[in-house]
């Protein structure tokens, strides 16, 4: 049986509403107060970790006493004299070492880094830094994002290069910087020897490669020192193994600008969320252009991202234009976008998002699209769905 309830009087109703209003006001005040950003409180809630922990805690003791793998290769390098203990940093402390540049590494799945100063045989001072990213492509992303134009390629590793006073390379998921305080031939010779020792001391990533999906056979760009070794054609995966494509190997070689191959780990072309996009710059007979490739986990994802990027370009002043009938035989869905003197073509082929970015002429855009897609069609013919 439902028990009948009394109807409150107007006075009671007013009093109840007043109390509720007071409670609501208190709740609002609490919410407002809590929402105010007080960095001091945030810091107090997560006390600073000891940064740059020194070797005093042990030869490979790093952040908070953990042994960091990147410290070990810096412990016993031949022909150089350590000038400082090994210091190690993790994602929470990286900016204590490299300040605002930390964001670049963090966006590319940074894991840890260790560094140490050395004195070369000729007396030059060298800072050696070993960064561990999550995967080889992440290491390539940080290297390529900082690649100095006009630098000298080195035979040490596929991506290795030297400037007047510094040397950079990757090995597996490691990115290494060796920066000297001098720029002379003797210093650079010593630096190359140090680099070779350090390269040998780093793990080659064979275990990780063995455990990772097999790569498709693909042609190597002949031009450009940045080109990595091509995987052999026998590296085709068993049909049941999902295929991963190495985008770096799929760019056409004609007109490719040396050292221009890059991997944008995040926010490629200025579009938030557009990640892991390879780009390469070209100088062609009809103008310059940038080719882009991004391998996605499913064709639908590639299509959606191509559409999102086209929308982004449209919001930034580009307008769709028809592809000429005598243009390259691109897959259905390919779009041409045009803005003042700038041409973009986007399409997908299976899980690959491909495009030509910021071409200076329609002819250059179409020419590069033709070359890029022809290579893709050939290389991806063996793709396992």
């Amino acid at each position: 049986m439902v028990k009948a309830r009394g109807v409150p009087g107007s006075g009671q109703r007013r009093a109840a509403l007043t109390v509720l209003a007071c409670l609501a006001a208190v709740a609002c005040w609490l919410g407002l107060t809590q929402s105010r950003f007080n960095p001091a409180v945030l810091v107090a809630l997560s006390p600073p970790q000891l940064t740059g922990s020194m070797a005093a805690a042990g030869p490979t003791q790093g952040v908070q006493g953990r042994a960091l793998a990147t410290a070990a290769p810096l412990e016993a390098l031949p022909d150089v004299t350590p000038a400082s203990p090994v210091e190690s940093y993790d994602p929470a402390t990286l900016s204590d070492r490299i300040d605002g540049k930390a964001e670049l590494y963090l966006a590319a799945n940074f894991k840890e880094m260790s560094c140490r100063a050395f004195i070369l045989p000729n007396g030059a001072h060298v800072d050696a830094s070993v960064y561990a990213q999550a995967a080889p492509k992440d290491a390539f992303a940080v290297l390529s994002a900082q690649r100095r134009p006009g630098s000298r390629p080195l035979p040490l590793a596929p991506d290795a290069y030297a400037t007047e006073n510094a040397l950079y390379f990757t090995r597996a998921n490691h990115y290494v910087e060796l920066v000297a305080d001098r720029a002379d031939a003797a210093t650079m010779a010593d630096l190359e020897r140090l680099a070779a020792s350090l390269y040998a001391a780093l793990p080659d990533g064979a275990a990780a490669v063995a455990a990772s999906p097999t790569q498709t056979p693909a042609p190597m760009p002949a031009a450009g020192p940045a080109a990595p070794p091509a995987p052999g054609p026998t590296a085709v995966a068993a049909p049941a193994v999902p295929t991963v494509v190495d985008e770096k190997t799929l760019f056409p070689t004609a007109g490719l600008t040396a050292d221009s191959l890059r991997l944008a780990a995040a926010d490629a072309m200025g579009m938030a969320g557009f990640s892991n996009v390879y780009t390469a710059e070209y100088v062609l007979a009809d103008g310059s252009a940038t080719a882009l490739l991004a391998w996605r986990d499913a064709p639908a994802t590639a299509t959606a991202e191509a559409r999102a990027f086209a929308d982004f370009l449209t919001q930034n002043g580009y307008a769709a234009a028809p592809l000429p009938p005598n243009g390259p035989p691109l897959p259905a869905g390919a779009v041409l976008l045009v803005a003042d003197g700038s041409y973009e073509i986007l399409w997908t082929r299976g899980r690959m998002l491909a495009g030509v970015h910021d071409a200076t002429s329609r002819q250059a855009a179409l020419e590069l699209a033709r070359e890029l897609d022809a290579g893709l069609a050939k290389a991806l013919a063996q793709e396992t769905p």
Partner: protein, 352 residues
């Protein structure tokens, strides 16, 4: 038939209205309301009495500062230039010419002044890499302060690397020593909490305030650098080095914090060194190929104007630095240098 009222035993409560068997009487309601109100008022009053609006002091017995001081100097005359752009390669000569155009060092430094020079010693990198304030510039400025009658010249920064290494490797320690200035290392005792009025970020934050004790003039010496997060590191970004604690938390709102830093201290003079600029891979750089000879030094009393001029050395415009507009809106300075009577000088005669 007349209804018969129910029989009520003596002392029993009066029957309630039909349909509201549990409703209290008016008297009961008022009594309950009074009790509830009294309890609420007591709880609220107790909370108010126990509330500490200032929170715990970061330093026992210390006090929260609202800034580091206003060290600005009024120009000699309304027409005296307050911004000089000097082209050349010799930093000492460029500084001397620039400061003369602003009325001479005596216009900024009086006899007996205690001068604090804030340099950029962010990392332990040699001067060759142009990641830190150039030691030649520091020496020229410190010596000019001494010549103008400064009683003491102090040099400080709170680098991200070991401070001893940073000042030594950058050559700043040697330059200070040679010019009679003293390096003030950022030891813990020099940090005090600062809460800028109406600040969104700089509240209760440890700042290198102890370095300003007894200081009467403040000069900022900055290096022109590309900056991965802030686009450019110039004068205002250099003030980041006054922050203590886990300051990288501010990278989430880099423009907001740089604009607030402009309110933290009003310098007497800003010198922006773009003789060699770090064009890429900043703020740490590392390779000589990151650098470009841009042959320019900017001196100004206005940090916003100095940065607005200096950003051009990186082939960018003031619009590329959102913090400049924020700082201008906060009254730190002016992007448009017209009102500063700017002058442009050439130290070395043009070739040919």
């Amino acid at each position: 038939m007349t209804p018969v009222p129910p029989r009520i035993p003596p002392g029993a409560p009066a029957p309630r209205d039909i349909g509201a068997p549990d409703s209290p009487s008016r008297r009961q309601f008022l009594r309950r309301l009074a009790v509830a109100s009294a309890l609420a008022a007591t709880a609220g009053g107790l909370g108010l009495a126990l509330r500490d609006p200032h929170g715990p002091q970061a330093v026992p017995g210390g006090r929260v500062l609202t800034g580091l001081g206003d060290f600005s100097v009024a120009p000699k005359t309304p027409t005296t230039p307050r911004l000089a752009t000097v082209h050349g390669t010799d930093r000492r000569a460029m500084f001397n010419q620039g400061i003369n155009a602003l009325g001479g060092m005596e216009a900024f430094i009086r006899r007996g002044d205690v001068v604090l020079i804030k340099v950029n010693a962010v990392i332990a990198a040699p001067p060759l890499l142009a990641a830190t304030t150039n030691p030649e510039l520091l020496a020229a400025v410190a010596e000019a302060c001494k010549l103008a009658g400064a009683a003491k010249v102090l040099v400080t920064d709170n680098p991200i690397h070991n401070p001893d290494s940073c000042f030594a490797v950058s050559g700043l320690a040697g330059a200070a020593r040679q010019s009679g200035a003293a390096i003030l290392m950022p030891r813990q005792a020099l940090f005090s909490p600062v809460s800028l009025p109406k600040a969104a970020l700089l509240t209760d934050w440890p700042v290198l305030a102890g370095a300003f004790a007894g200081v009467t003039k403040c000069i900022i010496l900055s290096q022109v650098k590309n900056h991965q997060r802030a686009v450019a590191s110039l004068t205002l970004k250099n003030l980041y080095g006054l922050l203590g604690g886990r300051r990288n938390i501010f990278h989430q709102d880099i423009n907001g914090i740089i604009a607030e830093l402009g309110r933290l201290v009003r310098p007497s003079l800003c010198v922006l060194d773009g003789v060699v600029s770090m064009m890429t891979n900043g703020p740490t750089g590392g390779s000589l190929s990151d650098l470009k000879a841009t042959g320019t030094m900017i001196l100004s009393t206005d940090p916003v104007a100095a940065d607005a001029q200096g950003i051009g050395l990186l082939n960018l415009t003031p619009a590329d630095l959102p913090y400049l507009a924020l700082a201008q809106a906060a009254g730190v300075g002016s992007i448009d240098a017209t009102s500063l009577n700017p002058v442009t000088l050439n130290v070395e005669p043009a070739a040919g």
